[in-house]
Each structure stands twice: as C-alpha cells, then as structure tokens.
C-alpha cells in the first residue's frame, strides 16, 4: 500500500472542495432569505453540519497525506471514540470495568495493528472469534452473574460494530489489486464519498419531498422519497466516479448500490438502539451531526461488505482447494 497524489486524487480533492464551498455559499444565502422560524432552525442545523464537514474533511485529508499509517491511526481513534459513545450509552456495571479496559486498550489497537501489517487472516477473526471467547471469560472472573449474557453480548456487539466493522474502511488500503497498485487510497475515498453523500442526499431529498415514512417506529425522519432519491443520486455519483476505482461504470454502480443499501441498514440499526435507549444522538462531539457514531453508522455496515466484495472479485489469485 502506498500513496501518491496523482492527478485523479487532485481532481477528487478539487471536487470535494468545490462541493463544500457550494454548500457553504448556499447555506449563507439561505440564512438571509429564509424567514420562518422552523425554516431558520433547519438552515442553522444545515450550516452547522456544513461547518463540521469542513473540519472532518480537513482531518481526513491530513491523515491521508501522512500515509497509510495516518489513516490507520485516524480510524483507530474513530473506533475508540465510537466505542466510548456506545459504552456510555448502553451502560455498564462495575464488574464490566476490566473487560472494557481490554476492549478499548488491547483489542482496538491490535485490530488496527493487524490490518496495518497486512495480516489479513488474523484481522478478520480477531474480534469475531477471539474477542468473542475472551469477553465472557474475562467477565466470569469479575464474580458477578447478574445479567451475565446480556453484558457479555453488549460488550462484544460494541467491539464488532465500533472496532471490527469500522476497521474495514482503512483495511481497503491493504488490498492488492492488479492494475491498481499504489492507488488503494482512492478506494477508501470512494467508499467514504459514496456513503457520506448518500446520507447527505437522503437528508436533502427527505427535506424536499419526504412524505411516506418507511419505519416510523424507528426513525421518523426516514421517508421513501428521501431513501429512493438519496440512493439513486448517490449511486449516480458513485457510477460517475468509476474512473477513480478499479471498476467499470457498471461495476461501480453495483458497488455503490451495495454501499448505500448497507449504509441505510446501518443507520436504521443504530436508530433502533438510540430509540430503545430514549435518546436522539450518541453524543454531541460533532456540531450539527451528534456523536461520532451518528456519523459513522452507515460506514460500520457498508465497509465490511464493500471490502469483501472488492476482495472477492478483484483480488487474485484466490486459493483453489485441491481435493
């Protein structure tokens, strides 16, 4: 894995910059034209989101320029912050303390270390297998059986979502795709752009046309109009970005569809958890967006699938078993 700023990368950077600039300008125009109180609140929230986007993209770009290590460290930190929001929200008891310490400060760094060293075999099973066995074992030694299975499952679920799933995003940098050497960084960019734009576009379509709710019991803001419009336009965007990937336009469309649908599933799943806990956001770290986990929910679900689809179809050779 390696990075260099080829002309494609510069084009993407220019595109992102232009998009953000357009959003900022549109926001400041709306601020002066929208008069109703409800409309003002929406515009203020939108402008807060755009401001936060500048910061998030700035941090992301910086980690990119540092190199693969920079991206690994950035996503490891994101995992830690996401896990922190998760644990804070779902609660823990005194007896969970040391198991949680292991989750934060042992499993999380090791997970990213395995990806960084390209140790695929261990990176994909560390948390699903070894943490799965470790968590209940460590909990046993805390001598508290109250809600045991529930506690073990919650901790492991947090590791899966916040650490394992998110780690698949920078893991894209370790794919060794023929004809696409030293360009994996653009694959990560592709994922992040399609996922996040899908969220943004669903928000916009929903605000403009949203009527029929999809799952009112879970997320009152998600409408069929927003969903279909957002997915369609994000897929169109993803298809239009095929040149930055190893995919043909048609393949890019398929990948975009997989990414956006999984992202949608991730958003709904996290909404269900928040609803159950009676809160709106996981945190208040990112102005206008809520917590890190509110921003990462769609990446959590789409990154693993995107990684494995790409690896399955574009990384050769696959081991062939000789019976």
């Amino acid at each position: 894995m390696n990075f260099h700023a080829d002309h494609q990368m510069l084009r993407i950077a220019g595109g992102v910059f232009a998009g953000l600039l357009a959003a900022s300008i549109a926001g400041s125009i709306l601020k002066h034209t929208v008069k109703s109180e409800h409309g003002q609140a929406t515009v203020d929230n939108m402008n807060a989101r755009v401001r936060s986007w500048w910061i998030m993209i700035g941090i992301f770009a910086f980690s990119f320029m540092v190199g693969p290590g920079g991206s690994m460290v950035l996503f490891a930190l994101i995992s830690l912050l996401a896990l922190r929001e998760y644990v804070s929200l779902i609660g823990s008891v005194r007896a969970d303390h040391r198991t949680l310490f292991w989750s934060f400060f042992v499993f999380t760094p090791i997970q990213y270390w395995f990806w960084y060293t390209g140790w695929y075999g261990l990176a994909v099973i560390l948390i699903p297998v070894y943490a799965f066995l470790f968590v209940p074992t460590r909990l046993v030694f805390a001598h508290d059986t109250k809600g045991f299975l529930d506690r073990a499952a919650r901790i492991h679920w947090g590791l899966m979502v916040c650490v394992y799933c998110i780690s698949y995003a920078p893991a894209l940098l370790t794919l060794n795709i023929e004809e696409y050497q030293k360009q994996d960084a653009k694959l990560l960019l592709f994922l992040v752009i399609v996922v996040q734009m899908s969220d943004v576009l669903q928000y916009i379509w929903g605000k403009l046309l949203g009527k029929r709710k999809i799952v009112p019991a879970i997320s009152p803001n998600k409408t069929w109009e927003g969903f279909l419009g957002g997915v369609a336009s994000a897929c169109a965007l993803g298809t239009g970005l095929w040149w930055m990937t190893p995919f043909t336009p048609l393949q890019a469309l398929g990948m975009s569809l997989a990414i956006t649908l999984m992202g949608f599933a991730g958003g709904l799943t996290m909404s269900a958890i928040k609803r159950d806990r009676g809160i709106k956001d996981f945190g208040e770290m990112i102005e206008g967006h809520g917590g890190i986990l509110d921003r990462m929910d769609s990446i959590c679900f789409s990154a693993p699938l995107f990684f494995h689809l790409t690896r399955w179809f574009f990384v050769s050779p696959h081991p062939v078993i000789q019976w």
């Binding site: 804070s88 823990s92 303390h97 310490f101 934060f104 945190g283």
Partner: protein, 215 residues
Amino acid sequence: MSSQFAARIIAASARLLAGPTVRWIGSQPGRRQRVYFANHTSHLDFVVLWSVLPHEMRRRTRPVAAQDYWSTGLRRRLAVGIFHAVLVERGAKSASQSSGSSGHLDAARRTLEQLVEALDKRYSLIIFPEGTRGSGESVAAFKSGIYYLWRQRPDVEFVPVHLSNLNRILPKGEILPVPVISHVVFGPPLQPEANESKESFLAKAHRALEELGRS
C-alpha cells in the same frame, strides 16, 4: 516545565479521558468567588471538575483534598504543585458534627481555618461535602463542614455541581481507567436565609445537588 503549562496539559488529558459534557444551569462561568460543592464517586472528580473551568478560573480555584491520600510522592506533587490543593485532615469534617473527641474537634477547626484562609485570599474552592466516595447511585448525607464554612463567609456563592459517570471511568479500587463520557452540571447558587439553621442549610444544599442529578 512550568506548572502553568503542566496544568494545561493535565486539564486537557482529563478532558480527553473523561470527555465531559458541560452544562451551566442558572449560573455562568465568571470571576465571582465561589465554593463549588459536588457529589463524590471517583478520584477523578476534582480533576475533571477543575479541568472544565475556563483557564483563568482554574488558576483561581483550589480543590480541597484529603491529606492522607494526597500527601505522598507523585500525588503530592500533583496536588500541591499543579492543582494547588488545600490538603486537609480526613475525618475532620465528620468531627465537626461535634460528636468526636477533642482531637477531632481540633482537626475540624484547623480544616475550617484553612478553607477560610484560602477564601480570604480570593480563591474559589471545590469541596465534596459527602466526605467520602460513594457508589454513584445516590448522593450521601452531607457532613456539616460546608455549613460552618458558609457561616464564616456567607457572601461567597455556593454552587452545586453534579458529576456523573466518573465512577464508571475510574471506580473505587481500580487503577486503570475506561474512557466513558461523563457529565458535569453546574447549578444555580444556593440562596440560604441569613439565619438558616444547620439542618435546613444542609438539606437545601443536598436537595440542590440531587435535583441537578435529575436534570
């Protein structure tokens, strides 16, 4: 390394670890001299409370801490050098409930003198009137030291501060922390009557803290 610089580093690390959300309800950060009184569940309590104050206020605010815990080695260097803590004898506050021996009463008097002296030098204070760390589920009954302090200096604002989740970061008996998001809520200053009795002052202060915990 200057202690000012070290103080900033420590405040920043405390905020990084404890990720505190901070709310001021009915009071604002400002230059007024205050006694912040908070519920106590973790050794991190005063560090985090202190770290969320604006830098200028932090320099003028001293935590009150138990001498037996904070007076050796590294802890002492932190407590005295960085936090500028007022170290007091433990058990002193409970002794001021006038049940103890004369030794305890002396200790209580000395503690009170130390606190009044700090107030007279225009410092604000952070105190934990429960006297010891609790489990975090409820606020224990207050020791009476806070009442005597108010009697001595009634013009100082007594501001309740409710801390939550810090016991989940570093519970009693653990050395290694787990980063959980904590919450710090500053409430409106107490408004005691001029001749408020001890019982009613303590009840008022206790209720103010409990209500903040529910807000």
